[in-house]
């Protein structure tokens, strides 16, 4: 299964993704002066998810437009589809965006997430059935629509949907904003200003749209020089090593034992403020260590609608 789009071509820094040339150059320079990257421990390889716009679908086949490529994917009776919740093949309508994860035990598609999106940030205002969210300096303000059924589910995890509080919801794209489906975190809410200590390099991995490119948002991008960090970012929940855009993180899903090298393409200053845990397989230490792109998240065996997995992060010191 082919990979979906890589990082975009625009200039690196806090305002945009690092260009491929910058990533390549930093890898060369780093290796020259500090030596080769430390070899990671054994792990299962990532799956090869792909992302694209649905061109058509029937019971046996899904056709996606991924960049300039047209991809045909085999559906099986076990293929599961998510569109605001578990649904059937009728959700695979042309024009919608799909993230597709292959089976790990043979040909065919395991999971399809249709028009899935996630909003993580600080609540700016709340209306009758919608809230305005500040998703951080790298992402635009977003409106989250809260239908009654979703509101009840979100309130279980986010009992105070008031301005100044953090929110994390998973939903589907709509012309008016994100249509919330469920909370993105399985833990009680924490106020935005709370910073708690946590053990380093073991914690939670979540996902974010990252502007439709692969890679990761990392909470501790150095604010100095050309590293790409946010100069006014608050101290994070976890004392992580300072890194830069283009650095390769070795991300290991502790639940599936799959690992992959994922480049940092964005400062994860919003993720840094969440001191929650993931309980996918055991209870992780507090703190979000990395926000992966949806495709990278699915590659490592994560379920996008679940919202997190326990992670071990390896970085060069």
């Amino acid at each position: 299964m082919p990979m979906s789009r890589r990082s975009g071509p625009s200039r690196g820094g806090a305002a945009g993704p690092p260009p491929a040339r910058l990533i390549r150059s930093r890898r060369r320079h780093r290796q020259a002066v500090l030596g080769p990257f430390r070899a990671p421990g054994p792990a299962l390889p990532p799956l090869r998810s792909c992302t694209g716009i649905i061109l058509g679908a029937d019971r046996h086949r899904l056709v996606l437009q991924s960049g300039t490529d047209e991809i045909r994917l085999e559906l099986t009776p076990d293929t599961r589809v998510w569109y605001g919740g578990r649904t059937g093949l009728e959700a695979l309508r042309p024009g919608r965006e799909a993230i597709v994860r292959p089976r790990d035990d043979g040909p065919g598609v395991d999971r399809i997430w249709v028009d899935i999106t996630r909003v993580t940030g600080t609540i700016l205002s709340r209306g009758q059935d919608a809230i305005e969210v500040d998703a951080g300096p790298h992402r635009a303000h977003t409106q989250v629509l809260l239908p009654r059924q979703a509101l009840e589910r979100v309130l279980v995890r986010h009992p105070q949907l008031e301005p100044g509080h953090l929110i994390d919801v998973i939903g589907t794209r709509s012309p008016d904003g994100t249509l919330a489906a469920r909370p993105g975190t399985a833990q009680p809410w924490h106020p935005a200003a709370t910073v708690q200590a946590a053990g380093p390099l073991h914690g939670t991995a979540t996902w974010s749209d990252l502007g439709h490119r692969r890679g990761a948002a990392y909470p501790a991008v150095d604010p100095e020089g050309d590293s790409g960090g946010c100069p006014d970012a608050r101290a994070g929940c976890v004392a992580l090593p300072y890194l830069s855009l283009g650095h390769d993180l070795i991300v290991r899903n502790s639940c599936t034992e799959r690992a992959a090298a994922v480049p940092v393409v964005q400062c994860g200053c919003v993720a840094a403020r969440f001191c929650d845990r993931c309980v996918e397989c055991g209870t992780s230490p507090r703190g979000r260590l990395v926000e992966l792109s949806p495709a990278d998240y699915a590659d490592l065996g994560g379920d996008l609608d679940t919202g997190c997995f326990n992670v071990t992060l390896e970085v060069s010191r």
Binding site: H29, L34, A220, S244, V315
Partner: protein, 268 residues
């Protein structure tokens, strides 16, 4: 009374000189401050720093075992010279720290530091009237002498930023990879390094084309030319709180046709 005051100065100066000697030998200055001022050039010389420390230790011991006027005069001259040095630093490079107590004296030089050095000079002049060596004074000293020495030492500590620096060394130290490191600190370390001096002439610009952080290291890439060859010189400066290291590598300039980003291979 004059004898008590003079005797107390001998003990006070002995304590100061031996402490300064020990601090200079044990807590090495790093990084050596950058700059072309001759004072700073001297401070970058570790052998000279050791020699200064041994001289201070020798004077302190001499005060203990000898009542010869030459020793007292040498001590007075030493502190007078130190006062002048601190005054020069205050005027020219207050950011460099005085180095009076080795690596503990990294705080910006201020008037308190100048007052401290001047006070020691005054004490050294007052000690000229003391009779007997330091050991004899200590053995037969009345309580008033001890009280005076303690008071002077307390005043010295109040004027000294070194105590805070010493306490900081024993507090929890942030690991280098998670330690915020300002760019100014990186440049100071780099510009004071032998690697920088060795390669500076090859740089086409003293402004780096890229500065970024990799855990315990901050990397700086400079365009360079050696002969007819266009190169990039990459410096790596550690972000340790102390004993920061500098590494350097010469890298061929990247060509436009280097191909797409080679994503790291999947782990097996």
């Amino acid at each position: 009374m004059i004898e008590i005051v003079s005797g107390a100065q001998v003990l006070f100066l002995t304590a100061v000189l031996l402490t300064a000697c020990a601090a200079k030998l044990v807590v090495r200055e790093e990084p050596a401050p950058a700059g072309d001022e001759w004072l700073l050039k001297l401070r970058r010389n570790r052998r000279l720093a050791v020699a200064v420390a041994l001289a201070e230790g020798g004077l302190g011991l001499a005060l203990l075992v000898s009542a010869h006027p030459a020793v007292r005069i040498a001590v007075a001259a030493w502190f007078a010279a130190a006062t002048w040095v601190v005054g020069e630093l205050l005027n020219r490079r207050p950011d460099a720290g005085c180095g009076c107590f080795g690596g503990l004296s990294t705080a910006r030089v201020g008037r308190r530091g100048l007052l401290r050095a001047a006070g020691c000079t005054v004490a050294a002049i007052a000690s000229l009237h003391a009779s007997g060596d330091g050991l004899a004074i200590a053995a037969g000293a009345p309580a008033m002498t001890g009280l005076l020495v303690a008071t002077e030492l307390a005043l010295l500590v109040m004027l000294s930023p070194e105590l805070g620096a010493l306490l900081d060394r024993y507090r929890a130290i942030v690991p280098c990879e998670a330690r915020p490191s300002p760019l100014a600190e990186t440049y100071q370390t780099l510009h004071a390094s032998s690697d920088w001096r060795e390669h500076r002439s090859a740089l086409r610009s003293t402004e780096p084309v890229d500065v970024w952080r990799e855990g315990c290291w901050r990397l700086l890439a400079y365009p360079a030319r050696i002969g007819d060859e266009e190169l990039e010189i990459v410096f790596a400066v550690s972000t340790e709180q102390r004993h920061r290291a500098v590494r350097v590598a010469l890298v061929e300039s990247e060509t436009e046709d280097s191909g797409p980003t080679p994503f790291r291979p999947v782990l097996a």
